[in-house]
Symmetry: C2
Subunit: 246 residues, 2 copies
């Protein structure tokens, strides 16, 4: 975050936000990353906070800029406030051709948000300092700049906790999905195998998903039934909490 | 937060922290509040963040100043970033004799922490702007300044979530306690009745509490057994997670 920019643009000084944007595709959890111009370095998308916007609005704005999406499922999960979140020397070495480290604040505190988005609906869009914005498989995430690996870890941890208190999937699965697809979403977030029979029993008992009179075609073996979410019941369970999977 | 103070004292501008400090006494959950000098207005304890200290260190410092305690169970739970968290006119009217609202930033973002402390060990200590620091029963909390009622609500919500993932009590109960005492701690945090037999079964199954060969004397009816925490097992369960009470 640059000092002059902060005063000129009427930003809150020394405060930024970073976003872990998760999507689900090909049975695995993906994260949206930016590649900084003229480098091989990647980071999470982030942004500044204007004096006239709330933290939540700033996060929605950044999400919209990077994905094209409005009305995203977005949660603040932690504020990162260590003294040395980034190292002036490291910035100079890696990003010196892009930014002048002497114009950066020695310290910035960053509010972390995570988002769950519909992979198919996203048009990844780099920001002014980056040349590429694309999905990475969580298992293949490259080295990240600053403390962004720590931010990603904590986002994933928060998402896992959230999973045990509320239904997840409405923003991540296609409109019609099979039970194995939904289970693999849960498995990819939790990073562990789930017992399929218990999973199906819990989901059906909760009433959040309704079985359709349709099967998924073109898959090997037996064609699995398709399900869709019951939006009203989903909303109710979201309010009540209490789907314990971990 | 005052503008001149921020520059002179080398503080992070427009960023503060607020602490919901919980204690347990007489079977009810208490919260530590400050009464502002020459007013009838109360707020949560809070503080500034120095350029050279992390957010967590700043929170520990404030906790130490208000309670006299080190090594407190302390959790960051949410950052409050609405544009109008406080109203200049309200400050002028209510606190104009204490602070000059024109020297305050129009906006500050506050990082919320909650703490669980040993009620008996705390020596409540007002800050420079307050004349009293004392415990309030949660059911009797007065009107609070700024958005502090919202902060308290969210702290309590976070504490309730935490309760279902990890054991709580080591910082809140006396060294030796009865099962009904521990249950009332849980009930007072959750704000609802718990089935005593299920509660005792879950606690004993988890192994976090050990029954002593002692009973509590001076209580009506049958003298209940005393328990103490098994610190090693407590620590293990803390790491594993998974005591579901809500």
């Amino acid at each position: 975050m640059q000092k002059d920019e902060s005063a000129e643009l009427n930003l809150i000084p020394q405060l930024t936000l970073d976003c872990a944007i998760f999507g689900f595709h090909d049975n695995s959890l993906k994260i949206l990353l930016l590649k900084w111009k003229g480098t091989e370095y990647w980071s999470l998308p982030g942004g500044v906070i204007h004096q006239v916007e709330s933290l939540d609005s700033a996060a929605s704005r950044v999400l919209k800029e990077r994905t094209g999406l409005d009305e995203i499922f977005l949660r603040q999960f932690h504020t990162f406030g260590k003294v040395a979140r980034y190292d002036g020397n490291e910035i100079k070495k890696k990003l010196g051709h892009l930014i002048d480290p002497s114009l950066w604040y020695e310290r910035a505190i960053s509010v972390g948000y995570y988002a769950l988005v519909d992979f198919e609906a996203v048009f990844p869009n780099p920001d002014t300092l980056s040349e590429e914005c694309r999905w990475w498989d969580l298992a293949e995430v490259p080295e990240l700049l600053f403390d962004h690996l720590d931010i990603l870890d904590k986002a994933l941890h928060a998402l896992r906790l959230e999973l045990s208190f509320q239904p997840i999937g409405l923003n991540l699965l296609p409109e019609k999905f099979t039970m194995p697809e939904m289970m693999r979403l849960y498995e990819s977030i939790l990073g562990k195998k789930i017992d399929p029979r218990n999973f199906q029993k819990k989901i059906l008992k909760s009433g959040i998903a309704i079985r359709l009179d349709e099967v998924k075609k073109g898959v090997a073996h037996k064609s699995p039934f398709l399900y869709k979410f019951d939006p009203e019941r989903y909303e109710e369970v979201l309010k009540e909490g209490g789907l314990f999977f971990i």
